[in-house]
């Protein structure tokens, strides 16, 4: 199934990674069209259930993109997000779903290239893992 195009949900924070996505856009850095961004004020807003729901609805992968450590506009939203993402990974491995489907990334508003590389890296990783076991219909 080499033409498998994964669908990846991205929780992106208004101040840093969303701005990095904008910069990737204005610098016209091309990256795979597999990600769909859900904007949140801060990655601290993303709860464990949001990530699980995205997976349950059928996303092949989910990643949370927050600010560089220490530069979060709300000081420690991104630390919180990192811990919750790790908790979700543990839960997934408990019900033996590949924990690599969920990742946490950190980037500043000025790192447009990094945003694009993350999108590319995540798409390639999910392609390797294969489609989510929860949406057989879309394989």
């Amino acid at each position: 199934m080499d033409n498998f195009e994964p669908l990846i949900a991205v929780f992106s924070c208004h101040y840093c990674s969303y701005a990095a996505a904008d910069l990737a856009g204005s610098s016209r850095i091309q990256y795979p069209p597999n990600i769909r961004i859900i904007k949140v004020p801060c990655t601290g807003r993303v709860s464990v259930n949001h990530i699980l729901m995205a997976l349950e609805d059928g996303s092949d992968g989910v990643y949370v993109a927050g600010c560089l450590k220490g530069t979060c506009h709300f000081i420690r939203g991104n630390y919180k997000a990192e811990k919750r993402v790790q908790y979700v990974k543990d839960l997934l491995s408990e019900i033996n779903i590949e924990p690599e489907r969920v990742q946490m990334y950190f980037m500043s508003a000025a790192e447009g290239t990094k945003f694009a590389n993350v999108a590319l890296e995540m798409t390639e990783a999910i392609k390797k893992i294969g489609h989510s076991p929860l949406n057989k219909s879309r394989s």
């Binding site: 709860s47 464990v48 259930n49 699980l52 729901m53 997976l55 349950e56 839960l91 408990e94 019900i95 779903i97 076991p133 929860l134 057989k136």
Partner: protein
């Protein structure tokens, strides 16, 4: 508060193996405070169950609900009566007391515990709870400056340290302070060291299960 922790998913999934309609019943009391069995965790667990079953291609219906206090029958009855025959099994995310209250109230339905109830404890920091009280039924804290030797001393000694501690740490584990040294320092601080000299006491350990009765509160039969 009573502190509990969700069981490993493997064990949970094993328990509910042959059931299709599962009522995940949270409790908004202690287990919400220790973030183990509150409404949010109910939703997390239900999602995980659905994901597991979907992955295995097996049907499942999860019903999510939470009682105010699952150790209080009046808090359970309205919820469970309303959904009398919509579920095959109750997966209770309350502490042990909660699970047993449901089991007693609805004997014809299997009730499964989702949590392991650990202890009655203190919230040291957000996400970290430590055991504080064994509920021995005969509290000695008045004589030990508020530090319970029964719970905090590995051997539960009542009348002084075992002498195995080194540099203030219990011989059982070096990051656990020796309760009696703590008691000594506390009493010294409160200059009540003389409490230590009181005559040693013997504990009348309770017979389980305990029962507390307040006649003044009990229901009056008005024939």
């Amino acid at each position: 508060m009573i502190v509990g922790e969700r069981k490993p998913m493997e064990e949970l999934l094993g328990m509910i193996e042959d059931f299709e309609r599962i009522l995940v019943l949270g409790c908004k009391g202690c287990v919400t405070v220790c973030c183990a069995g509150g409404p949010k965790e109910v939703k997390t667990l239900s999602t995980l169950i659905r994901m597991d079953r979907k992955q295995k291609g097996r049907k499942v219906i999860t019903i999510e609900a939470s009682t105010e206090l699952q150790c209080e029958p009046e808090s359970i009855r309205p919820i469970l009566e309303k959904m009398a025959n919509q579920y095959d099994v109750v997966l209770s995310m309350a502490c042990g007391a909660g699970v047993q209250t449901v089991a007693k109230l609805f004997p014809d339905k299997l009730v499964l515990p989702a949590l392991n109830t650990n202890f009655t404890g203190i919230a040291e920091e957000h996400g970290v709870w430590t055991e504080a009280c064994l509920a021995c039924g005969d509290c000695v804290l008045g004589r030990t400056a508020g530090i319970c030797p029964v719970t905090l001393c590995a051997k539960g000694l009542l009348n002084g340290p075992c002498g195995g501690a080194s540099e203030g740490k219990c011989e059982v584990s070096k990051d656990q302070p020796c309760a009696w040294q703590e008691i000594y320092h506390a009493l010294k601080r409160l200059n009540r060291l003389h409490y230590l000299k009181q005559k040693p006491q013997v504990k009348d350990w309770p017979v389980h299960p305990g029962r507390v009765v307040r006649e003044d509160l009990r229901e009056v039969e008005t024939t």
